[in-house]
Each structure stands twice: as C-alpha cells, then as structure tokens.
C-alpha cells in the first residue's frame, strides 16, 4: 500500500481554493478513480454486451469527472468544454453502440461477448 499512501500524500500537498468548501480535489479524483475502477472491473468480469457497454460509459464519465475537477482546480475551462463535447459524442456513440448490440444479438440470439471471437489469430 505504499504506493497508495504516496498518492494521497501527493494529493494532500496540493492546495484547494476556498470556494470548493470541504470537498477537495482529492475527493473528486477519488470518485473518478473509483468509478473508473468499477467500470473497468465490470467490463472485464461481465460477459453481457449491454453491461459491458454500460461499464465503458461509466469509465467515460469517470474521466469526465476528473477533467471537470482539474478544470475547476486550475480555473481553466478547457476541461469543462471538453467534457461537454465528450457528452455529445458519447450520446451519439451510445446510440450507435446499442444499435450494434441489437444487431449482434439478432445474429446469435445471445448477448454473450464470448460468442464473438472472429479476430482469433
């Protein structure tokens, strides 16, 4: 756990503007990291295509939270602008991905990702 304490130590060293109240950047980043980890674990462990897709969305939003938190911390709005873009793209992408999942389901009558391994070398 040495690494982990190092990380909190590192985050604690960074200062926080007052307007953030009691919530520090570290809190946001922890939320983001947790979300990302949940998404990642879900993506790796689940075989249902829709769940896996939701997990990727989760990771997406985790990254978004981190971006907004940093943007606010640095008082630079590029991060937030970026997140807005990501949201729109993610919406479009979600529509596409769901459509693809439906098509894949029609092919094999199953949502199991293991059914699709045609890139096997």
């Amino acid at each position: 756990m040495n690494t982990m304490t190092d990380l909190t130590h590192l985050l604690a060293q960074t200062g926080f503007p007052d307007s953030m109240g009691s919530a520090t950047l570290a809190h946001y980043l922890f939320v983001s990291a947790a979300m990302f980890a949940i998404g990642l674990i879900g993506f790796v462990s689940r075989r249902n295509l829709i769940i896996m897709f939701l997990c990727t969305e989760l990771m997406f939003q985790a990254a978004g939270i981190a971006l907004i938190a940093f943007g606010r911390f640095h008082l630079d709005f590029t991060g937030q602008t970026f997140v807005i873009f990501v949201l729109t793209v993610a919406a479009a992408e979600a529509a596409m991905a769901l459509a693809l999942v439906v098509l894949l389901f029609r092919r094999k009558e199953s949502l199991d990702a293991g059914e699709w391994a045609e890139l096997k070398g």
Binding site: R47, A117, K120
Partner: protein, 758 residues
C-alpha cells in the same frame, strides 16, 4: 648435319623475316573463304532438302579451288619471307590505360603467309579435295539425308583448319583450333543415333577443351608478356632472347617466358592426341571413314605439331620445353604402338598408329629436327590418309566389317586390286620400308635424336617403336589383304535403336532409318534394297567393290605417297620441306658450333663427334639401322600372320582367316596381351579417377544447393513466420482478453511512471 647447318646467324635475319614485312596477295583469303562458301552452300542444300549429290560436287569444286589458290599462294610467296594479308578487323581495339599509355588488343582476321603456312595448306587442301571426292561415293547411302550435313561440316572443317594454319595471330589460331574441334565433334557424331558415336564425339570435344584451356592461358601469357597476340610482334620480341641464347646468356632469359611453351604444349598435346590426352582419338573412329582419314589422321591432329612449329622460337628459348615434348612424344609413340599391336579393329589400329606417329612428329620437333617433324607430317598425311581410305573402302564394301579376324585375302577379290595395292603402299610407308617417303621422314627424326645431346634414349624408344610399327602394320596387311579369301559382313544390319522396341511396324520404320544413319546399309550391297536385313544369315554375301571415285582417289594417293619420297632429294636444306622451312619460324636454329636451343645448351658436343654405337655419323648409319629394324618387324608379322604360299615369298602358314600363329603365342605372354588389348586400361583409369569423382562431386553440389544454400534462404523465410506463429495465441479474439491486456498494460505503465517519479 649438312642439311641442318647454315641457319646460324639467321636468328636475326630469320626474325626479320618472321616479323612479316609486306602485304600478301589479297586473293590468299580465298583459301579459307572458298571452303566457307562451300559450307554455306551445303547448309543451303540441307535447308532446301536437296536429294542429289550436289553438296558433294559443291564441296569438291570449292576445295579444289581452294587447293589451286593455295598452290598459287605458295608460288607467289617464294622469296618474300612472311607476308600478311588482313581480311578484316576481328577483335581490334585500343584504349588509353589509366597510366596514360596507349594499349591495344589486336586479333585481326589476318593471314600470315610463309612457307610453313603454305606447305601445310598445300596438303590440307589437296587431301581435303581428294577425300571429299572419295566421300561423295562413300556417303552415297545418305544422299538426301545426312549428305548435306556431312559436307557442310567437312567444308567448315577445311575453313577452320585454314584459319588455324594461316592465322597471323594466336587468337585466330584459337578460332581455327576450336573450329576444327567443333567440326570433329559434328563429324564423329555424324551417326547420331548411335550412342557410342555421340559419346565419342562428346569425349573428343571435352578432352580437346582441356588442352584448349591451356592453350588459351598460354595465349594470355603471351599477350601479357609480349603485349600482343600477333606472331609478328611476338617473334620480334623473342629475337633478343634468341640472341641471348646464342651468346650463352641463358640466365638472362626471363623465366616466365618458359611458362609460355609449357602451356602451349599442353594445348598441342590435346589436339594432337598425346599423353595424357590421347584417349579421344581412338574413339573418334566412330565417325565416317573419310572423316577419320582427313581429320583424325592427316590434318587436324597435326595442328599440335603445327602450333609448336609455328611458335618454335618460344620453345627454343625454354630450358625444359623441348625435352618434355620429346619424352611425351616418345612415350606416346611407344604406348600407342603397343596398344595398336593388340587390337583387332583395323580402323582402331590405324588410329593408334596415328597417335604413335604423332609422337614421332613431336619428337622430331623436340630434337631440333623441325624439318624431320614437318616432313613426317606431310608424308604421314598422305600415307595415313591412304591407309584410312583403304580401310574405309573395306568397311564400305563389307558392310562395316573391320575385324581383321573376319576378313582375309581381300586383295585377290575381284575389283579390290587398287585397294590392295594402295594398302600395300601405305603399309610400306608406315613401316618405314626403304626408299619410301615414310622411311626418309622417320630417318631424319631418328638420326637427329641420336645427335641431339641427351636425347639418345628418345632415339632408342623411337627405334623400338619403328619395329613395332612395322609389325602391326603388316599384321593388318597379311591378315586382311592376302591369304585365303574369306569375308563375313559386318554388323551394319543391326538396327540398334531401343526406341522402337514396342512396336513392330515402328521398328521397321526405325530400322530403315538406322540403316541410313549408319551410312553403310545393306541396300545396294547385297542386292536386296528393302527389308532383307535379317540378322545372321549371310550365306550369299557379296562384297561391294569400290567405284570409280574411291579407286581414283586411292590411286592418286598411292602414287602421291610414293612420289613424296622424292621431296627428300629436292632442295638444299633437308630436302624440299627443309629448304622451304628455311626462313620460317620453324627453321632449325643451329650454329656451326652446335645447337642453340636452351635445353641443349649445357652439353653440346661438336658436330661430327657423335656416332651411333661407334658405327659412325647417325645421319648415315640410321638409313641402314632403321631399314633393318623395319625388316625385322615385317618379317615377324609375316611369320605370325602371313598366309601360306604366295610363291614361297611368304614365311607364314596361315590357312584360315581367323587363326594365325600369333594366337599360339598369346598364352606365353600372360596377361600382357590382354592388357594391351584393353588399351592398358587407361580409359577405365580416367573413368575411375576423374569422371566418377567429378560426377559424384556434382551430385553433392546439387544436393548442397538444394538443401544447404537454398536451406539458408528457406530458413530466412521461415524465421519470421515461426516468430509470428509463436505469439499467435495472444490474439485469441476474446474481447475480455484484450480488455485485460489493456488494463494490465496501463497498470504496468502507471507503475513505471510512479516509480520513476518517486
């Protein structure tokens, strides 16, 4: 030494001559060009499928024209030294070397006209004309088939031979040298459906090529050392060496110059069938007999002798060249004679006799009797051509029969008189019977061997060989031409063509073709033109006596051979040949004090001091000695092989064709006779030591190429593929696999970053 003297200080003058002064007559180019024209016309005949004897008449006409031109050329060059006629530039270029000096490589299609050339061309074109006439009849079974092809190659041969002899540079000589080799190849393999003929042709070409390689290297060395391949330049630059020789400063002659004759010599041994490269010539008898007579007896095989005669100055300045030539020549003469004694095929006997006589010629050159050597070339050309043509007439008439055990009393058969007389004349010449041309030419060589310092062993070997020669020559004559009449036809009826085994009709077809190909089919000989070539039944065999063309040619050659003896008495220096060679490169470079050949410089006895067994000057004694040796040989042949009777002249007792007294002697000789009959197993030896290992190595190379060299390439191609295959399982196509991989990768990267930061 009378006839050999007087050429001393001509070293200088001679080389001025040799350098070649003026331009020769332009029409001298007709000597080679007329045969070439004939070859082209015969080629046209072949393409046009001419079904008459036209090619033969074209050839005879053109060759006769060439002969007449050669005679005119010979007359016109008298008293001119060496002339040069350049037809056109063949390989001729010059450039500026990096050092700045101008360099050149000149090998024109130029003719060097001097007496050596003239002499050679006289008998080459003359004999070629006669033999072409002979062949017009001899090859008549092939009219419309191989007839044009035969005369094409025949004419081409004369062209190549003319290039060889008349060339004014070594490269053109090389062209002729290989050209005659090609024609020899084509003509030996004339009966191309016969595997033995094809093999013999191949052997001749390849063995010759071995010699050719050394000749080529010798030419290159000449070029590098003398800066030219033209005789004129070479002789001019050899003159200082000859001068050094005369002054006894032999150590000043660069040693590299001595390498040149050593290389040229091997080339000469290849072409002239000397040890160790003689094996091709006996096999070459697979060709039609006119070819054997012209190419493999009279002309082409003397090319080696010509080469040495032509480049004689180079041999003179070498310390070792001439003795080596002498020993090779003598040993070849002896070896071939012993083989010839034990053979039964009369054509092969003549072939070995040719090898043996060529050995004499080399010895003649090597013991400083260039006159004798060249004179022997001329006389041998006539009588050996005569002998071959007589054998050919027998072969032609008896359906290919050549076995001396199966023929007897041919001379007394109707229509065979001229052949018999011709054969007798030839045999007398070859045996060195007194007052024949062969007698004089052989004598010159023998006598000079005993005169030249250190060469006496050569003389003894040659003398012994002379006896053996007389024996085997008359063995043939007594067995085949006199005695009770008997003749079995040869194997010409056998159609040995494996391809037709399956089908009778096809066999018929092929058999007929094969008979044509063999050239001496039964058709016309036995009065059954079609089909009657059954095997074995020859009860009513009638030999086919030669026609007018063959008889005319034989008569001319027989008379010519006899008259050739007269050449010995013409002129001042060693007869006609000697006086003509005077002033050419082949002249005997002697001084009043003795010989000036580097090889014999150390121990030169004074003229007249040497004597033969205390009997006196070898030049005189040898007349009697060689005559006696010849008589002994003939007498032994008469006893062992001669027929009974014939007016009490004959000492022999042979009453049937197949057996003679010699057969009773065979057991006493143990295995020697058998070994000699098997040619001392030289062919087998070469096969075992050279051919098979080489073939084996080639197979090994083939496998190496396939598996090792190509194996590395295959390995190089296989390696990336193998690496790819080994990492292939990683690409399992499972989404989760990739996800885990990605996550793991990120984790590892993060760890690295963090560790690096802290």
């Amino acid at each position: 030494m009378g006839d050999l003297n007087g050429l001393l200080s001509t070293v200088g003058a001679g080389s001025v001559d040799a350098a070649g002064g003026g331009a020769g007559p332009w029409w001298a180019v007709l000597v080679p060009l007329l045969p070439l024209l004939s070859a082209v016309l015969c080629g046209v005949c072949a393409a046009a499928k001419v079904k008459s004897k036209l090619p033969a008449w074209i050839t005879v006409g053109c060759l006769a024209g060439s002969f007449v031109t050669a005679v005119m050329m010979f007359m016109s060059i008298q008293g001119h030294g060496a002339l040069t006629t350049t037809a056109f530039e063949w390989i001729n270029f010059n450039w500026t070397a990096p050092g700045g000096e101008a360099q050149s490589f000149i090998a024109n299609f130029g003719l060097r006209l001097d007496n050596l050339t003239g002499l050679w061309m006289l008998f080459v074109t003359g004999l070629a004309t006669l033999i072409a006439l002979y062949a017009s009849e001899y090859m008549s079974h092939d009219v419309g088939k191989g007839y044009s092809r035969f005369f094409f190659a025949f004419s081409l041969f004369v062209f190549a031979m003319a290039c060889l002899v008349m060339a004014d540079n070594l490269i053109l000589l090389y062209l002729g040298w290989e050209g005659v080799g090609l024609c020899s190849y084509l003509l030996i393999g004339y009966f191309y459906t016969k595997p033995s003929a094809v093999a013999a042709a191949k052997k001749a070409f390849i063995v010759n090529r071995i010699g050719d390689l050394f000749l080529a290297l010798g030419i290159m060395l000449c070029y590098v050392h003398f800066g030219s391949v033209e005789y004129a330049v070479i002789f001019e630059k050899t003159a200082p060496y000859l001068a050094m020789l005369q002054e006894g400063r032999i150590g000043d002659i660069p040693a590299l110059v001595q390498l040149i004759p050593a290389l040229l010599m091997i080339g000469a041994f290849g072409k002239s069938a000397q040890l160790p490269l003689y094996v091709w010539l006996p096999d070459a008898m697979e060709g039609p007999t006119p070819v054997s007579a012209l190419i493999h007896a009279a002309t082409m095989v003397t090319a080696g002798v010509f080469l040495i005669a032509r480049t004689y100055p180079l041999f003179l300045v070498s310390e070792y060249a001439l003795p080596v030539v002498a020993w090779i020549g003598a040993l070849t003469a002896l070896l071939a004679a012993t083989i010839g004694m034990a053979q039964f095929d009369i054509k092969r006997i003549m072939a070995y006799s040719t090898v043996s006589q060529l050995g004499y010629m080399f010895c003649g050159l090597a013991v400083l009797s260039a006159t004798g050597g060249v004179f022997h070339v001329v006389t041998h050309a006539f009588f050996k051509a005569l002998l071959f043509l007589c054998c050919g007439a027998v072969m032609h008439g008896f359906a290919g029969q050549l076995d001396l055990r199966k023929l007897s009393g041919v001379m007394s058969m109707k229509g065979w008189g001229i052949v018999g007389v011709g054969m007798l004349v030839g045999c007398l010449n070859l045996a060195g019977f007194p007052f024949t041309a062969g007698y004089f030419s052989k004598d010159m060589i023998l006598a000079e061997s005993f005169v030249t310092p250190g060469m006496a062993p050569i003389g003894w070997i040659l003398l012994l060989t002379a006896g053996l020669t007389a024996y085997y020559t008359f063995r043939v004559f007594f067995r085949v031409f006199v005695g009770p009449q008997h003749a079995e036809p040869g194997e010409e009826f056998h159609a040995e063509d494996p391809a037709h085994g399956a089908d009778v009709a096809e066999e018929e077809h092929f058999a007929e073709e094969a008979r044509h190909a063999h050239g001496h089919s039964a058709r016309g000989h036995d009065g059954h033109p079609h089909g009657d070539h059954a095997h074995g039944n020859h009860g009513h065999f009638h030999p086919h006596a030669p026609g007018w063309a063959i008889n005319t040619v034989l008569a001319i050659l027989a008379v010519g051979s006899l008259l050739a003896a007269g050449l010995y008495f013409m002129g001042d220096h060693g007869g006609f040949v000697g006086s003509k060679l005077h002033g050419t490169t082949a002249e005997i470079v002697t001084t009043a004090e003795g010989h000036t050949a580097a090889a014999y410089l150390g121990n030169e006895p004074h003229a007249g001091e040497h004597s033969f067994l205390g009997l006196g000057d070898p030049h005189k004694v040898m007349y009697y000695v060689s005559a006696v040796v010849g008589f002994i040989g003939i007498a032994i042949a008469a006893v062992l092989h001669g027929p009974k009777g014939l007016g009490g002249l004959m000492l022999g007792s042979r009453t049937e064709a197949a057996r003679s007294k010699a057969d009773n002697l065979l057991p006493a000789m143990g295995p020697i006779a058998k070994w000699a009959q098997h040619k001392w197993y030289v062919d087998e030896f070469y096969d075992l030591v050279i051919y098979r290992p080489l073939r084996g190595i080639s197979h090994v190379f083939r496998l190496i190429d396939q598996f090792v060299v190509d194996g590395f390439v295959a390995l190089a191609g296989w390696l990336p593929r193998a690496i790819g295959r080994s990492v292939r399982p990683l690409q399992n196509g499972e989404l989760h696999g990739y996800a885990v991989g990605m996550a793991g990768g990120i984790a590892v990267l993060l760890l690295i970053v963090l560790l690096a930061v802290s």
